[in-house]
Amino acid sequence: MITKTVTVINSQGFHMRPATVFAGEMGKFKSKITLESGGRNVDGKSLMNIIAACIKCGAEVKIICEGEDEKAALDKAVSMIESGLGEE
């Protein structure tokens, strides 16, 4: 299991569009991917649960990946969040 903590920088946070793109990408990995934010754990592949978590701009998110492709999954998740989740 590997983890890394990053800060959400895009203005909308994990809202509809960014969350859809993120969950879609995470779905391609075999590893279990969990987002920990504000004391809550959320399945990183579940769009609905990500939206429910209301992760906003400025929030710290700990990404936890566990499985055969955990390194690649974590790298992808970190780069997506750090680059602003595809938001302009």
Binding site: Q12, S46, L47, K56
Partner: protein, 564 residues
């Protein structure tokens, strides 16, 4: 006549078509074969996704946004959501029940958050639930893709899937029972440019299908007793509106500049961060008045600094570097907020309100100013102080701001170092000492609504004295001229954020006085830009000289009306 909220401007004339929701009823019994039931569920999901994609494509072709519908597909395709539904079916639920249970869980989770965007997603889940259940039950709705010409749709609320299916060229107007200016229904009807009146109580009961109906999306009025005279009147109004809209369209994306090349700032007034979309849609160049009262109303306690920060920041970020003038709390007068324990006053408009209240409730005011300062790191934010009557008030606000800036410096919290602090000029006192106030203000913004009331000492809502209330009265015109001139003399910018800033009769005078910034309703931006493009200083000076030489409002009004 029925009254609602005018959410999308324009006149709609046509025949009513009510969309009654067919009840979704199913028998909640365990299917004999869960495997078969899961197959039935799976094929319904496929139908849902295919149909959605088809509709989204149709929306793209029509130039509207298919993204909402693709979002529904993404939500339903969530592996977690699907596995939950399948699990319920494995445990004996029928597909309809499984859909209901899982969707309801998310509806209540989303609705319970205090985040507006997340709350809105509950509408999407409700829509997904209904659509999916209808597919499972084989319920076909009114075929919205084939409507008779000039249909006025009467619905409880407009859902994204309805919009996608709707035969838009035949929809002349929309009436809903639910929703406000920022609801889904409002945003959709504005983007489709279909006149819409929302929140009409009992519309489905009061309007009969097949009857003639007129919808005025500007005033929020819906007429159900249509005779020839009324029809004629509104046909003419519709023509005028179409012509105006056509001309104004040419001014979208253009600079606001007078005929003789003077560039003006054309901003919009908003009452909530949710109106940001309307501002961008209206093509405003900034926000000239961001009222903050909404953050304090409809609740039981003060909003936290954090909540305020989020709302201010959302607008600062959304405007992408364009100026956003945030007015600090304007409470009191007719705006009472229960938990603030304001005493009942004999004379609330001359009482404990706005900056007066704020300066004696320092901690509350500091938390608002701190929230604004912090948000200023994310855009071009300015602060506006309402109801200034004395120099000390604006000086005190500046002192507090300096104190807060020092605190933020120590904590290394970013803010806009040269944030502007300006005075809203809306009292006779402020007008008379405008030269003094200008020394301590980075800008002025004239609030003509209150200024007119205070100068004329007349309440416009009072039928006996309402006739005195007019921004075209010689007294008010002189006040405005004096305020703008004082600003010009001191070299600071002067704006206007009252309704008068969009009044075609008054605009020539404002140009002559030297007003730099016009802040109007988002939907009036293009109209004002067009008017300004036709004016030059010399003509405006002549008009202004003539208007100011007149002795009464009637004469002024008649003269200025004859020009526009």
């Amino acid at each position: 006549m029925l009254k609602g909220i005018g959410a999308s401007e324009g006149i709609g004339i046509g025949k009513a078509l009510k969309l009654l929701n067919k009840p979704i009823v199913y028998e909640d019994i365990s299917p004999s074969d869960p495997t078969e039931e899961k197959k039935r569920f799976e094929s319904a999901v496929k139908v849902f996704c295919d149909r959605n994609e088809e509709r989204a494509k149709r929306m793209d072709q029509l130039g509207s946004d298919g993204e909402i519908l693709r979002g529904h597909t993404a939500m339903l395709s969530d592996p977690y959501m699907l596995s939950q539904m399948n699990e319920l079916i494995d445990n004996g639920a029928c597909a309809e029940k499984a859909v209901e249970t899982v969707c309801d869980t998310f509806i209540s989770i989303f609705s319970a958050t205090d985040d507006e965007l997340t709350k809105q997603r509950a509408v999407d889940v409700r829509d997904i639930k209904k659509q999916l259940q209808k597919i499972l039950l084989g319920i076909e709705d009114v075929d919205l893709s084939r409507l008779p010409p000039d249909t006025i749709l009467v619905v409880e609320e407009l859902t994204p899937s309805m919009t996608a299916e709707m035969d838009k060229k035949n929809v002349a107007g929309i009436v809903t029972e639910k929703g406000g200016k920022t609801s889904h229904s409002a945003i959709i009807s504005r983007s489709l440019k279909i006149p819409a009146v929302l929140s009409v109580e009992n519309a489905l009961a009061l309007i009969q299908s097949g009857k003639d109906v007129i919808v005025d999306g500007g005033s929020g009025e819906v007429y159900t007793d249509v005779d020839d005279a009324l029809r004629e009147q509104f046909l003419a109004a519709r023509k005028r509106f179409a012509k105006k809209a056509e001309e104004e369209k040419k001014f979208r994306g253009k600079q606001t500049v007078t005929k003789d090349g003077v560039v003006k700032k054309l901003y919009a007034n908003i009452g909530s961060h949710k109106e940001l979309e309307a501002v961008l849609d209206g093509d405003a160049e900034g926000v000239g008045l961001f009222r903050t009262e909404f953050l304090f109303m409809d609740r039981n306690s003060m909003p936290t600094e954090e909540e305020q920060f989020e709302a201010y920041k959302a607008v600062a970020v959304g405007m992408r570097g364009k100026e956003v003038i945030i007015r600090t709390l304007d409470v009191g007068g007719d705006k009472n907020i229960p938990y603030m324990n304001l005493k009942k006053e004999e004379n609330p408009f001359m009482g404990f309100r706005a900056i007066r209240y704020c300066l004696s409730n320092r901690e509350m005011y500091k938390s608002q100013l701190r929230a604004i300062l912090r948000a200023s790191a994310y855009g071009n934010v300015s602060v506006m102080v309402p109801l200034v009557t004395r120099v000390e008030e604006i000086r005190e606000v500046r002192e507090i701001a300096e104190e807060l800036k020092n605190e933020l410096n120590v904590k290394n919290i970013p803010y806009k170092k040269d944030i502007k602090i300006g005075a809203m000029i809306e009292t006779p006192a402020a007008c008379l000492i405008a030269d003094l106030l200008a020394k301590y203000s980075d800008f002025f913004s004239i609030g003509t609504n209150d200024l007119t009331g205070y100068i004329m000492a007349a309440d416009r809502g009072n039928a006996d004295v309402g006739y005195l209330y007019s921004a075209l009265d010689p007294a008010v015109l002189r006040a405005i001229k004096h305020i703008v001139s004082s600003a010009v003399k001191r070299g600071i910018s002067c704006g206007m954020c009252g309704e008068a800033a969009a009044d075609p009769r008054l605009i020539p005078l404002l140009v002559s006085f030297g007003l730099e910034e016009f802040s109007v309703n988002p939907s009036s931006v293009l109209s004002v830009r067009r008017i300004l493009s036709k004016l030059d200083r010399k003509t405006c000076d002549e008009i202004s000289e003539k208007a100011l030489s007149m002795e009464n409002e009637k004469e002024v009004s008649a003269y200025l009306s004859s020009l526009s």
